[in-house]
Symmetry: C2
Subunit: 343 residues, 2 copies
């Protein structure tokens, strides 16, 4: 390990439309030195999540945009390699927010200690991490499915979608998953035990969804947007709830000019006519008050074998740009993780 | 009074786009006869409301559509002309739902007795009626303005809008009204005491609205839709609430084909990025549990001189079709009422 053995990925140019790997740049950088009460962390797993594309837009949203030359943000499962902090030992596993880099210094604030004997550490980025908590918080605070109600989610084999359906079922609701491809459809039905699935690339997708929801839709967990919304909207029941946690379809093309149809008037008319609730959220709003509940409850479900999950792993920090591109195109299968280093 | 002295207005043809008076037909009809425990009511005031156009659409919504040949629905302030019911006397004032007709029979269910000594009976159709309660319920349940927050409403001189702003101010919030025309702008500012107004037909409307909301918008009471939404959306603060009770702009043209821009993706992106809540409602959802609170509170405000209101009166049932057309075009000034008969 020497001064130049650190690596990071920065924003090279602001992406226009679909993200390309060349919009990002892998570069060597100096090894950071921990000061008094600081730690040196080595990234073992880097979480790849759709919101990263959102943060690359120029517009300010709930966050400041990532600037050109800045390291891409991201949650990591890391190990302590040097410690100048009395509470931490070399070798400790932590959930951190180091971003897309191999080594990072931390003042230990905001770290969560992970016990590798309780659950595999990488689950802190997926089923027991931000994606799982996003599903949990969106259902608990906004979706509020009652037993027997129908909950629909797209990207159903993904990190958030798979948890939405499984939690909905654990609450006694019916879960309907939207995805595409024989493997993913089968996985959602057979291994995640959703009640029904619909293939959004099938010519009869709208019919499939309708048949999967004979009593309409009470909760639509919106994490995709685009044409799926058009199929869901007519099926929503009076007083349906729509947690909006992400709209991957719009991250890359936030405005659709030269469209042939303005879809907003019909959406507003349905909101009014069916007394719908659409509510955007980010999981951080609920983390302070509900994260402990989530970790207890989901940890128990996982220990009991009531939660299935799947990881989509690539290797080495240099694989991260393509991994994000693939995720945004729906070419991942499960929670996307980059294994940056051996534990 | 003889068998043919009754009159009603029915749906003649299903309107396409903007409502025309000829889409409705005034016709003579038989005088109804009250049976045992029934009343004959004479309509004194007929309420003209935007939702009537909504109910003329072919699509089912929260209601069944009005069929061709069917009497147009509507709330009325009526007087009892014959009573075969022990609880009611000839001459009693009632809030009824007789629809667009001069005489109607009622079994007395759903009637609200009005005391003309407490408030002018016509207020039961406006400031103390459905429009007032719509404003009250939308703010109480969805908008939830806190003191110092900014509440924006369009059609600010209208029956609902005027109450939204006045209630918001009574709750300690700032009220900003959107309307057009020197008389309406002045009325909203001077007589309704809104904190600021913006003229949606002014070339600098977007700038006017922005200047009127230096701290952004916390509650937008959506009762209009269309281009006003485009001006409001960028000003909404994180966690802003949008009660959606009506979208007059969309009643007549629910879908906008051949548009140049699809506005839905940006709206969804803002819902997500700013954790907005959009929630459709109809006041009937809250009437059972909150109408008494409203009548007590708003009745007190009115008695104390804390609520201003204005009525836009036309005369005779034959004037009702044009009155609705004018309302939908924004040519009314205040709560639109048809005075069908002398008390």
């Amino acid at each position: 390990m020497n001064e130049t053995s650190n690596q990071q990925v920065v924003l090279a140019v602001r992406p226009q439309g679909d993200l390309k790997p060349s919009d990002l740049r892998l570069e060597a950088c100096a090894m950071p030195l921990p000061g008094e009460r600081e730690l040196l962390l080595e990234t073992i797993y880097l979480s790849i999540d759709p919101y990263m594309r959102w943060w690359m837009r120029a517009e300010k949203s709930y966050n400041d945009p990532i600037e050109i030359g800045q390291v891409i943000v991201g949650a990591t499962v890391s190990r302590v390699r040097q410690s100048r902090h009395p509470d931490w030992q070399v070798g400790d596993w932590v959930l951190a927010y180091s971003g897309w880099r191999r080594f990072a210094v931390s003042d230990a604030s905001g770290l969560r200690r992970l016990d590798p004997n309780l659950a595999p550490p990488a689950t802190a980025l997926g089923v027991l991490g931000m994606p799982g908590f996003t599903a949990y918080a969106g259902l608990r605070n906004i979706g509020q499915p009652r037993p027997g109600e129908t909950v629909v989610v797209a990207a159903a084999s993904g990190a958030v979608g798979s948890m939405v359906g499984q939690i909905a079922r654990l609450r006694g609701a019916r879960a309907v998953g939207i995805t595409t491809g024989a493997h993913k459809l089968s996985y959602v039905k057979q291994e995640l035990h959703f009640d029904a699935v619909a293939d959004y690339n099938a010519p009869d997708f709208v019919e499939q969804l309708k048949k999967s929801c004979p009593d309409g839709i009470d909760v639509y967990f919106e994490n995709v947007g685009g044409k799926i919304w058009d199929a869901v909207l007519p099926l929503l029941n009076t007083h349906a709830r729509v947690p909006v946690c992400g709209i991957i379809a719009h991250y890359q093309r936030p405005s659709a000019e030269h469209a042939s149809i303005d879809r907003l008037p019909n959406t507003m008319a349905q909101i009014m006519g069916k007394s719908l609730t659409l509510r955007g959220f980010i999981q951080t709003e609920y983390a302070d008050t509900q994260m402990d509940d989530f970790l207890n409850e989901a940890g128990q479900w996982l220990a009991n074998g009531q939660l299935a999950y799947r990881e989509h792993l690539t290797h080495g920090l240099q694989s991260a740009p393509q991994a994000l591109v693939d995720l945004l195109q729906g070419r991942n299968f499960g929670k996307t993780l980059v294994k940056v280093a051996e534990p």
